[in-house]
Symmetry: C2
Subunit: 147 residues, 2 copies
Amino acid sequence: MAMKEFLRTKGFKMTPQRDLIFKSFFEMDRHVSVDELYDRVRQLNSSVGYSTVWRNLKLICKIGLAEEVNLGDGVTRYDRVTKVPHGHMYCLKCKELIEFNVDHIMDFLTVTANENNFLPEGYKIEIQGYCAKCRETMSEDNGDRLT
Amino acid sequence: MAMKEFLRTKGFKMTPQRDLIFKSFFEMDRHVSVDELYDRVRQLNSSVGYSTVWRNLKLICKIGLAEEVNLGDGVTRYDRVTKVPHGHMYCLKCKELIEFNVDHIMDFLTVTANENNFLPEGYKIEIQGYCAKCRETMSEDNGDRLT
DNA sequence: CTGAAAATGAAAGTCGTTTTCATTAACGTG
DNA sequence: CACGTTAATGAAAACGACTTTCATTTTCAG
């Protein structure tokens, strides 16, 4: 019942839908989209509305438990916030998101920001490409290269 | 007339609109959105359609002269490709994009990809925050902090 | 219990992006 | 240079993810 109290201190109420959405979100694979979470939630309670899922995902971000991740494919994903900042390897084929440690880089980025008198609020380190799994099945069907 | 020949080798034709759009794009500030380029082009020739601008921006990307940049504010920007990869400092207030050198980081990222048997196609290094200019005018009106 | 405030679900609205389609233009070829 | 194939254009419609609206229901402090 910890979450309920936590929300209360911020002026939010707990509801069955919210409880289900929150639990589902934290149980799922990281980096879910609204649709993915919506599908999951509907499996457990088919009466929950899309906008409710969406609003709660936004709420989770607002209270600092997740962040929006934008890979440029037009779909916003929600990434659970961890204490350690991390980078993402984003597979252009299977869309998987693999995390990696970015401690080294952080130092550099902090310095860079300071040098420019820029006040950092967040970082995004991303490698786009093809994951090990997809590279295997890449012999016959190739991606969309130019021309 | 170099561009025309270049396009021809890839099966594309040159048109007055295309010529105007290409020239405008390369003359403008880096990181333009479709709307911004459209506005600029319309100043020079008000009969050019939005979709034509959009398609040519896509074409510029396809032939490798620009890349889409997605900052998560719902607007795709087009960043001229330079030989040197670079990072972006993105001001959450004025939306300005400031570039910085990322040579150090590249080594690290390359190694990281290799370790995971990940085939990199592109990188994205971004610092979100507030630029020097905006920090000054940040005393009275503050941004949207949680709650 | 009760009322004020928040949450919900359905539907509609928003907005940037993308496609469709009829028409026009480019340009290698004859 | 006229021709025909193929690409490009412009207007409008379609798309799709995201966001808001609104009437109704639910939560929860007092």
